[in-house]
Symmetry: C2
Subunit: 146 residues, 2 copies
């Protein structure tokens, strides 16, 4: 398995952990605290959460408040430079809406959304681990710069 | 000058370039295109802009549409791992509002804002250069996870 394959798999696992609400998998993906270079996580619209404990608590809280979420990742770019890998990708989300008494239980409300993420991984003896996750909402169509 | 000092200076220069509308300085800060590992820039609320040319065009357009902006950076964390440096910081902004006929010219309208940024630099023979800039709006107070 190449470095790029391994990083791609670790990146996919982040979204698998969120989709399945698997905090153990989420915990296995993140770096341990290492002095000042603690893990940092920016959820869409949030200020940074720093430190492994705080990051995992934030994920637990978000997953506990998510009834359903599914990701389709597009525009995934993976680059390895020494012991650091940088991934940028688009997170295309399908989320379950809160249910109301009027809802047809066979047709739960679903909503789509789009965010972009920069995920920075570090190589460790146990594999590639998340160092920085920065996700942000895509708010509006952009002017064409390409 | 240590690596951390040099990266901190390059990070500060990014905001100096924006404040002064200096596209030459901005251009000097960004990596050249290198195959698939092209520079990537996420402005707040935007989808990613990829490639040196597109990134600099996006900055030119944003700077042309900014009458006044001043940054105070806080919570600046700089970490160097081999030839990659990762900076996370809070961008506290003071921006000029569009003028209207009623405005007192001595008291132009100003607005504050807050964003967070992850800036990834690569070491090059010419110094540290921006590889990824990802800025996102801070939309609301967060729950306490610390």
């Amino acid at each position: 398995m190449t470095d790029v394959d391994a990083v791609t798999a670790a990146n996919t696992a982040l979204y698998d952990a969120f989709e399945t609400g698997d905090i153990d998998l989420m915990g296995a993906l993140w770096l341990d605290d290492a002095g000042a270079a603690a893990p940092t996580c920016v959820h869409p619209g949030w200020a940074p959460v720093r430190g492994r404990g705080a990051v995992l608590r934030s994920w637990s809280m978000i997953m506990a408040n998510t009834t359903y979420i599914q990701f389709v990742l597009t525009d995934v770019n993976v680059h390895v430079q020494g012991d650091v890998a940088v991934v940028t990708c688009a997170e295309n989300m399908l989320t379950g809406m809160p249910e109301t008494a009027d809802d047809d239980p066979l047709l739960p409300g679903l909503a789509g959304g789009r965010a972009v993420a920069t995920n920075v991984f570090r190589r460790t003896p146990g594999g590639w681990r998340l160092w920085v996750h920065h996700a942000s909402p895509v708010l509006a169509p952009q002017p064409e710069t390409g």
